[in-house]
Symmetry: C2
């Protein structure tokens, strides 16, 4: 745990200056919105301390180290992944009408939709720019990995939006959405440093597979927290995913379970009015009763085990393997 906190903090620390310097290339208005979103400053430009968890930068740095490369390779990879992650958050918040993220007003709610769209665009484009400047002979491959992940990220968000108006969502569709929306960029982050370091394909692919499993484990754990998480720790209202009638994995599992509890949940989800507190608690109970919680927890465990096994198979130097492992365990059982 301490080791993980330190690798996350270490990742954040190492990318802080390069990330700020990437933003410095933007026009002042767009830079201000980007820095606000990233937690560098408040809406009046007074400095605050960043609030991102830094998962993707930590993975990218580790993947460079795993390939024997240093920060000159790890940092551009880490910065690029963090930029793409935040590009997607900025645009997702617009699309989902979310007004709060990380206990702060979202960028579009603070500066308007156009400013938030432009800020996301800027981060998306900067990500390719930063990679294309890296001192590496394989930066074209790194750009291709990153853009291919971005396509999957977009596919995942498109599916997530489609689910809102789709009557039936299969468990397979739901898992694919989660893999695209979260797994793809985690896979990229966990391998991009190695790709940029011109590592053997076996290592880069192995790290990508680790990241893909970890991403799914992470998303499934997040789906559990979205229903049963402690609001004080998650920063979201209690039962928030049920409140917005999100078709997350536990819910979709329950709806497709063919159990009486699943059928009762379907009736609740289909009613036009907002669910009241009693109904929200009933819905959570029904998801559990239909097996949605158990199944999701077990699948998260399986994905974590697959991630850990993949790391073991790569025979990385001890401390690096340990950092990957510790990070993976914490992320998939994280409590905030």
């Amino acid at each position: 745990m301490t080791a993980t906190v330190s690798i996350l903090a270490e990742g954040q620390r190492r990318i802080d200056a390069p990330l700020r310097s990437a933003l410095d290339r933007l026009d002042p208005a767009t830079r201000h919105v980007c820095g606000y979103h990233l937690g560098f400053w408040d809406s009046d430009a007074s400095p605050i301390s960043g609030t991102g968890k830094g998962i993707r930068p930590a993975l990218a740095l580790l993947s460079a180290w795993a390939a024997g490369a240093g920060d000159e390779i790890g940092i551009p990879a880490a910065v690029a992944c963090e930029l793409i992650h935040n590009f997607s958050l900025l645009h997702d918040d617009v699309m989902d009408h979310d007004t709060e993220r990380r206990h702060r007003t979202t960028a579009w709610a603070q500066f308007g939709v156009p400013a938030a769209i432009l800020a996301g665009d800027a981060l998306c484009s900067l990500a390719s720019e930063v990679l294309a400047e890296a001192p590496s002979a394989t930066k074209d491959w790194a750009v291709r990995c990153l853009t291919a992940s971005t396509r999957r990220l977009i596919a995942g968000q498109a599916a997530d939006l489609a689910f809102e108006t789709q009557d039936q969502v299969s468990l397979a569709e739901c898992l694919k959405m989660a893999a695209d929306k979260t797994g793809a960029l985690m896979a990229c982050s966990a391998s991009l440093g190695a790709v940029l370091a011109d590592a053997p394909a076996e290592l880069a692919l192995g790290l990508a597979e680790f990241g893909e499993h970890l991403g799914l484990a992470f998303q499934l754990a997040d789906d559990i927290l979205g229903i049963w998480g402690n609001p004080e720790r998650t920063g979201k209202p209690v039962l928030s995913d049920l409140r917005s009638r999100k078709k997350s994995v536990p819910v979709v599992y329950a709806l497709a379970s063919g159990t009486p509890a699943g059928d009762r949940l379907a009736v609740l989800y289909a009613q036009p009015d907002e669910l009241n507190e009693a109904q929200l608690h009933e819905a959570a109970e029904l998801v559990s009763e239909a097996g949605g919680k158990d199944w999701t927890e077990q699948r998260a465990d399986e994905e974590l085990e697959a991630a850990l096994a993949r790391i073991d198979s790569l025979l990385l130097p001890g401390p690096i393997a340990e950092d990957f492992t510790t990070l993976a365990r914490q992320l998939s059982h994280r409590d905030r």
Copy 2:
């Protein structure tokens, strides 16, 4: 004129298949929105003929030919520029609430804001991907040129949006906005083929400067058409830029002119209600009277002359210089 029509048509023809194949990488929902926007198909997926003018692909192909390279270099450059141009159109239409483009319903008006945001994101990311796959030793430079132009494009749109609520806009600010919003990507298009072909820096820079001047000439001509253009040919309502009280170059020149006509225009622009037809015609007359039309036309001519002089200075092979020149003349005096 015939030569220009043919280079534009030729550019469109050559990028048609590669552009479609780039879209084929996207998830079906996002691909559908992108292809709709690009004029490949209608909202029900029935094929239609594309409606873009193909200016940027034509410039990019010419710039590859100018460097002695062929389509294997010219096409990725042309596709990347066309993708970035359309990414910006998709997002601009969302930000500007425009419901019509090229005589068709805009993507957001047809499919909703989230779908249009995702489609723009997809095109932005695909542009880097396509360049990073080009068979070229300088593709990293090409990605950097493209992303630097994208930053300027974003800066231009941010300035354009800020002008809406800004009391005073100086002519210098307005020209910078136009250069960022239109000049940057034209400069990139006119040079990206050469950059990707590893041309001497002198050639690549010369072509970029040509494109920058041409872009400004093109934008100034567009500003004239936005007030005095024939609606049947422009596809926009008569006096459209005045109707939306856009701070285009002729208007800003007039407002800053210190003339009685300029002052009367300021009073009209400041009134809260919509301008009626008589007021719109009066506003157009005031812009002329304050010198806004003459000044803009003259500046457009100067930019065109500077563009043509820059092409001459490069001593390109005759037919290529001629294509650049013909294209430049038509674009800056174009009547639609």
